[in-house]
């Protein structure tokens, strides 16, 4: 107290906010909602206890900001792409090893568990998800129209999203038995089964017959 012996790091509000968001994601990934406490987040960020309530209205507000950042890629614009490239990009992004490691998946799971409970989080989730789903329906409809395919685009979109989320879930809860590439391949195979053949952006591994 009397002597200032350690560094006093001063940063811009924007910088600090994003650091706290990153620290929050790390905590969620480590131990789910139980590890998402003021103490642990501040310790993770290397920051004193009172700082979160200075930069965010509450702990819940931080959680909303975290979710907003995590879902940002879902509504990213894929401007100059064909419908096929859009879908391929979505699938490949979903199973990108850099962002969908186990820690991130655990963070998703923890937040999903809160979506049903917290109003603000629920609202943001609905907004993000609807747009995400709409993009997919549009792309599928465009392909079907161009190739005279009779498909239920809404149903296919719902199934594809469910497949992606379900594969994340399986991979998160027990990663043994299949790889991220297997999961990607499953998605392309699913679309192939209903008559939509899409070339992956990255190459797929060899398929192993039983």
């Amino acid at each position: 107290m009397a002597v200032k012996d350690i560094a006093y790091n001063r940063k811009t509000a924007q910088q600090r906010r994003s650091e706290l968001i990153a620290a929050g994601v790390a905590c969620l990934g480590r131990g789910g909602m139980s590890a998402f406490t003021i103490d642990q987040i501040c310790k993770q960020a290397g920051v004193s206890r009172g700082l979160i309530n200075h930069h965010f209205d509450s702990k819940e507000a931080l959680l909303v900001s975290i979710y907003a950042q995590m879902t940002e890629y879902l509504v990213r614009e894929h401007a100059a792409a064909t419908p096929r490239q859009q879908i391929a990009s979505l699938i490949d992004d979903s199973f990108d090893a850099a962002s969908f490691n186990k820690s991130n998946l655990r963070a998703w799971l923890a937040i999903w568990g809160q979506v049903a409970t917290h109003a603000e989080l629920k609202s943001l989730h609905r907004q993000r998800y609807l747009r995400y789903r709409l993009q997919l329906v549009d792309a599928l409809t465009a392909i079907a129209d161009a190739e005279q395919l009779a498909i239920d685009a809404a149903s296919i979109a719902r199934q594809l999203i469910a497949l992606i989320d379900g594969l994340w879930l399986e991979y998160c809860l027990h990663s043994d038995g299949f790889s991220l590439d297997d999961a990607r391949a499953d998605c392309y195979r699913f679309l192939q089964g209903i008559g939509i053949v899409i070339q992956p952006e990255q190459e797929l591994p060899e398929r192993i017959e039983p």
Copy 2:
């Protein structure tokens, strides 16, 4: 204290244990892991504070018992059924309105979030899941063998489980847009797409073309 004015309900250990489990599920369904506290569970069960630790070693032990009960149906024996009936029964059970209401789905989500963190829960989950998956692979293989179908049973099983879990997730987080019957129909349509036609145990609603 001096005067005993309210009922003192005495039950067998087994009865009380199952009541506490039910109360725990209700709490998880209401508010996720945040609502899974000794105080709230006891209040839900209409029981005093110290009783949980009398019937269970710890709060975590109660959670394990809850998950054991919730996953029981996954490994239930379907003795006299054909492979097709087994799969149909699994799908229909998964989207049974009685057990898969929103509250139960929220409870699942909350527990899934804990599986990655708690060792005992993780072990139980792996054990239950592997058996569940094996049953599915066996049924699919039996069908494929009998009908000369060339399928990757492991991959199909993984996709079907992912589809079911993903549809639960979608329905839990935003039930608008589709019903449980739609979800059931999606599963049958998925299998149909890869050449396995299965008659649902209950009738499916009319398919609405776009």
